[in-house]
C-alpha cells in the first residue's frame, strides 16, 4: 500500500487545472444543478432529499405517538385532514397505525439515515479528502442519485394506493408479507431500485478511494472518515444483494403464486391457503438479517467517521490510537457478516447455532469499544473548542456508547428471548440511531456547511437546536427501556392499554409522546438555521475556517468543478495538529513544510 506514494507521483503531470476551471462556465442551469455529474452537486441533491425523507419519516412517528399516548381519542385539527380510510373522525385505524409503523422504519433507515450518512457525506467529501477532482464514475454517480430518487418517490407513492402502503414492519417478515395487500409489492419494487442505487454508489466510492488518491495519499494518511466510508461501501456492496434476492423471491410469492416463504398447510382467515407450499418462512428472516445486521454498521460507521474528524479538529490533537481505530473498523466490517442471527434467537435455531452467534456478537462489541475509547482518550489533554459541531460530536460519544451497552442483553439468547419484540429493543436501537448517529450527522452538517456555502450556520440557533434535542431524545428513548423491561410489546396499536400488566407503566407513553413533539419543535430551529444561514449566515473569510489539517479545506470555497486550484501532493498524516516546531497548531496535509 505504501508504494502509492511513489507510483502516483509521475501521474501528477497529467493534471491540468485550467481545463476544469474553463469547463463549468458554459453549463446550463439544468446540467449544472439538476442533471449534474459533479460529486458535490450530487451530494447536495442527496442532502435535500434525505433530510426531507428524514423529516417525513419522523412526522409519521409523531402521528403514531398520539395514538399510543391517547388511544382512541380523536387527534385535534390534524386528524381532520386525513380521510376515512386512515383516520375517520380523527381516530386512527389499526391498519393505518401499522402502515405508519412500517413506513417510519423503512423511510428512516433506507431513505433517511443511510443516504444522509453514506451518500451525502460520502459524495461530498470522499474526492475532497483524498485529493481527487471527482468520483471515478461521475455518470454512474448521477444514475445512483436518480434511481434513489425514483425508488424513494415510488415508496411515497404507495401512500396513495387504495389499500395504503406496506404495513408489515420495516422487516417485512413472511408469510404475513406474502399475503398482505398491494402496498407490499410497491415496497419490494422500490427497495430493489434503492438497492441498485446504493450498490452502484458503493462500487463507485471504493474505486474512487483506491484509484483516485492524490500523490502521497497512502492508506496510512487517509482520514478516518474515508476509512469509515470505505468499510461502509464494502458492507453495502456485499450485504445488500442478498436482500435484493430475497425481494425477488417475495415478489414471486406475491405475483407468480410460488411458495418460497409459505409452508405447507398455511391457514389464512380460517381457510387453507391455496398454494403448493413447501417453503420456509425463516428463509426470509435469514436473508433479511444478512443485510440487516451489516446495515446497522452502514448506519453507524459514517457517523463515527464524521465525529472523528470533528473531534480531532476541535481538540487540536492527533487521534489517540488512530492505527488501532483503522484495524478495528476493518475487523468490525468482516465480523458484521457473521452476527446476523442474533436477531432470530426466538425462532429456535438450536443451541449450537445460538452459541456461535452469541460469541460473534460479543466479539464485535470489542472493535466498537476500541473506537469509542480512542475518541474519549483523544479528548484528554486537548484544548477543546466547544462550537456547535463539537457539541453534537461530544454528545454522540456517550449516547452511542449507551446504545451499544443496552444492546449487550439483546446479544445473549437467555436475556434476548424475554426482551424480544418489546419496547426495550426499540429503546436500544433508537439510542444507537437517533441520539447516536443522527447527532453525529447533524454535527457533520454544521461542520462542513461553511465549505459548501461559504457561510457558517448560526451559533445561537445551533445551541437552541442542540440542547432541547439532546434532552428530549433521552426523554423519548430512556422510558422505552423501562417499559420494555416491564414486558410491553413494541407493536401494540393502543400502546398497551388493553393489557392489565402494562397499566403501571402506561403514563410513560404520555411523557414519551410529549417529549417527541417537543423534539420536533426543536428541529424547527435547525430547519430555519439551515435555510437562513445559506443566504444570510456569517461569511467565512478563509477557505479553512476551523483550521483543519485535512484536504477538503485546501479547496476554494465553495469548491469549483474539479475541486482544487492546484495539483495536490500529500506529505503527512491527516490529524497533524499541534506538531512540535510547527508555526501554527495545524499542519495541512498538502503543505510540504510543517
Amino acid at each position: 500500500m505504501s508504494s502509492a506514494h511513489d507510483s502516483a507521483h509521475h501521474d501528477s503531470s497529467h493534471h491540468h487545472t485550467s481545463h476544469s476551471d474553463s469547463s463549468h462556465h458554459h453549463q446550463s442551469f439544468w446540467s449544472k444543478y439538476v442533471f449534474s455529474t459533479d460529486h458535490k452537486i450530487i451530494g447536495i441533491q442527496y442532502l435535500f432529499m434525505s433530510l426531507f425523507f428524514l423529516f417525513f419519516g419522523f412526522c409519521l412517528m409523531l402521528l403514531m405517538r398520539w395514538q399510543i399516548a391517547y388511544p382512541g381519542h380523536p387527534l385535534p385539527i390534524i386528524g381532520k385532514m386525513f380521510g376515512a380510510n386512515s383516520m375517520p373522525g380523527g381516530v386512527m385505524l389499526p391498519e393505518f397505525y401499522n402502515q405508519l409503523g412500517a413506513m417510519h422504519g423503512t423511510i428512516m433507515v433506507f431513505l433517511g439515515v443511510v443516504p444522509l450518512g453514506f451518500a451525502v457525506f460520502g459524495n461530498y467529501l470522499i474526492p475532497l479528502q483524498i485529493g481527487a477532482k471527482d468520483m471515478a464514475f461521475p455518470r454512474l454517480n448521477m444514475f445512483s442519485y436518480w434511481s434513489f430518487l425514483v425508488g424513494g418517490l415510488l415508496m411515497l407513492s404507495s401512500f396513495f394506493l387504495p389499500g395504503g402502503p406496506a404495513s408489515n414492519g420495516w422487516t417485512s417478515y413472511s408469510p404475513l408479507s406474502d399475503i398482505s395487500h398491494d402496498g407490499q409489492t410497491i415496497w419490494l419494487f422500490s427497495m430493489a431500485i434503492i438497492i441498485i442505487s446504493s450498490l452502484l454508489s458503493s462500487l463507485n466510492f471504493i474505486t474512487t478511494i483506491f484509484n483516485l488518491r492524490a500523490p502521497g495519499m497512502t492508506f496510512e494518511r487517509l482520514p478516518f472518515f474515508i476509512w469509515a466510508q470505505l468499510i461502509t461501501a464494502f458492507l453495502l456492496l456485499l450485504a445488500f444483494p442478498p436482500l435484493e434476492g430475497a425481494a425477488f423471491l417475495q415478489l414471486c410469492d406475491r405475483l407468480l403464486g410460488t411458495s418460497f416463504f409459505l409452508p405447507s398447510g398455511l391457514f389464512v382467515n380460517g381457510h387453507l391457503y391455496n398454494v403448493s407450499g413447501g417453503g420456509n418462512a425463516l428463509l426470509w428472516q435469514h436473508l433479511f438479517w444478512f443485510l440487516g445486521h451489516p446495515e446497522v454498521y452502514v448506519i453507524i460507521l459514517p457517523a463515527l467517521g464524521i465525529v472523528t474528524e470533528i473531534i480531532a479538529c476541535n481538540t487540536r490533537k492527533n487521534i489517540s490510537g488512530f492505527s488501532m481505530m483503522r484495524w478495528s473498523i476493518i475487523f468490525l466490517g468482516f465480523l458484521s457478516f457473521v452476527v446476523w442471527s442474533h436477531h432470530t434467537y426466538l425462532t429456535g435455531m438450536g443451541t449450537n447455532i445460538t452459541a456461535f452467534f452469541q460469541t460473534t456478537t460479543m466479539i464485535i462489541s470489542i472493535p466498537s469499544v476500541i473506537i469509542i475509547s480512542a475518541l474519549f482518550i483523544t479528548l484528554w489533554g486537548g484544548s477543546i473548542r466547544f462550537n456547535v459541531p463539537m457539541l453534537f460530536a461530544l454528545a454522540f460519544l456517550p449516547m452511542f456508547g449507551f446504545g451499544g451497552l443496552t444492546g449487550l442483553p439483546l446479544g445473549l439468547a437467555a436475556t434476548d428471548i424475554p426482551l424480544h419484540d418489546t419496547y426495550y429493543v426499540i429503546g436500544h436501537f433508537h439510542y444507537v440511531v437517533a441520539p447516536g448517529v443522527v447527532l453525529g450527522l447533524f454535527a457533520g452538517i454544521y461542520y462542513w456547511f461553511p465549505k459548501a456555502t461559504g457561510r457558517k450556520m448560526n451559533e445561537v440557533l445551533g445551541h437552541l437546536h442542540f440542547w432541547p434535542t439532546l434532552i428530549t431524545m433521552n426523554l423519548v428513548f430512556f422510558p422505552m427501556l423501562i417499559q420494555g423491561l416491564m414486558g410491553l410489546n413494541r407493536r401494540m396499536y393502543d400502546g398497551g392499554a388493553t393489557y392489565t400488566f402494562a397499566h403501571d407503566i402506561l403514563y410513560w407513553n404520555v411523557v414519551i409522546s410529549w417529549a417527541a413533539w417537543f423534539m420536533a419543535a426543536a428541529q424547527l430551529f435547525f430547519i430555519f438555521n439551515f435555510f437562513y444561514s445559506m443566504f444570510n449566515g456569517e461569511k467565512v473569510h478563509s477557505d479553512n475556517p476551523w483550521h483543519s489539517a485535512t484536504l477538503e479545506w485546501a479547496t476554494p470555497t465553495p469548491p469549483p468543478h474539479g475541486n482544487f486550484a492546484k495539483p495536490i501532493t500529500v506529505y503527512r498524516e491527516p490529524y497533524s495538529y499541534s506538531l512540535e516546531g510547527a508555526p501554527k497548531d495545524y499542519s495541512p496535509q498538502d503543505q510540504k513544510e510543517i
Binding site: S7, P242, G257, N280
Partner: protein, 201 residues
C-alpha cells in the same frame, strides 16, 4: 465532457499500486456483488431443499441434453469473446467484429434453447407455482437470462454503434471491451453453477 484522462486519472492506464484501471476495478466489485446476489438464491435453494419433505428428481423434469448444449454454447461464446479481444488488441477490426458477432449469435441461440425449455415446461403444466423447485428454477434461470440479455445489448453496442469510441481512444476502447468480456465470462460461470445445481444434482 469531463470524463477525460486529465480530469479523472486511470481511465486508460492502470494505476501502478492497484494494478487496475478504474473500470476494471469497478467491474470486479460489481461482479462481487453479483456473486452475493446469486449466492443468496443458491443459499435459498440449499435451505429449501434440505428443509423439504419431498423434492422432485430434477433430471426427470429437465432435458439435460438441452442444458448441456447450452453450457457448451456459452463456453464457446467465452472463447470467441477472448479471441475478439485479442484481435482488437492486434488492431484486426474485421476479425474482432467477426468474433463479436459469433458471441452474439451464441447468446441468441442460448436464449432460443432456453425458450424451448420454458415452452416445454409450460406445455407440460409446469409453472413457477407448481413446486418450490420449479419456482427456484424459473427465478434463477430467468434472472440469469436477464443478465444474458443485458450482455447481448452491451456486446451489440461494442460490435457496432459503439465502435466510434475507438476512434477517440484505442486503448480506452480495448478496456471497455475487456470489462464487457469480464462480465460475459461471469455470466457463463453462473450458468455452469445453475446447470449443475438445477439439472444434475
Amino acid at each position: 465532457m469531463h470524463e477525460t484522462e486529465e480530469f479523472i486519472p486511470y481511465i486508460v492506464n492502470p494505476r501502478e499500486d492497484t494494478g487496475l484501471y478504474n473500470a476494471k476495478f469497478g467491474i470486479w466489485l460489481f461482479l462481487a456483488s453479483e456473486v452475493m446476489l446469486f449466492g443468496s438464491l443458491f443459499s435459498a435453494y440449499i435451505l429449501l431443499r434440505v428443509g423439504s419433505f419431498t423434492w422432485p428428481v430434477q433430471s426427470e423434469l429437465q432435458d439435460i441434453r438441452i442444458g448441456a448444449l447450452n453450457s457448451v454454447i456459452l463456453l464457446t461464446s467465452s472463447i470467441f469473446f477472448i479471441r475478439a479481444w485479442v484481435a482488437l488488441k492486434a488492431d484486426d477490426i474485421a476479425k474482432y467484429k467477426k468474433f463479436m458477432y459469433l458471441v452474439i449469435l451464441c447468446a441468441f441461440s442460448f436464449l432460443f434453447f432456453k425458450g424451448v425449455e420454458y415452452h416445454n415446461h409450460f406445455s407440460h403444466g409446469e409453472f413457477p407455482k407448481t413446486s418450490v423447485y420449479l419456482g427456484l428454477y424459473f427465478l434463477m434461470t430467468g434472472l440469469h437470462a436477464l443478465h444474458i440479455i443485458g450482455g447481448i445489448l452491451v456486446n451489440i453496442y461494442y460490435a457496432g454503434p459503439g465502435m466510434y469510441l475507438r476512434a477517440q481512444n484505442k486503448q480506452w476502447f480495448i478496456n471497455r471491451v475487456e470489462v464487457a468480456g469480464l462480465y460475459w465470462h461471469f455470466v457463463d460461470l453462473v450458468w455452469i453453477f445453475l446447470f449443475s445445481t438445477l439439472y444434475l444434482l
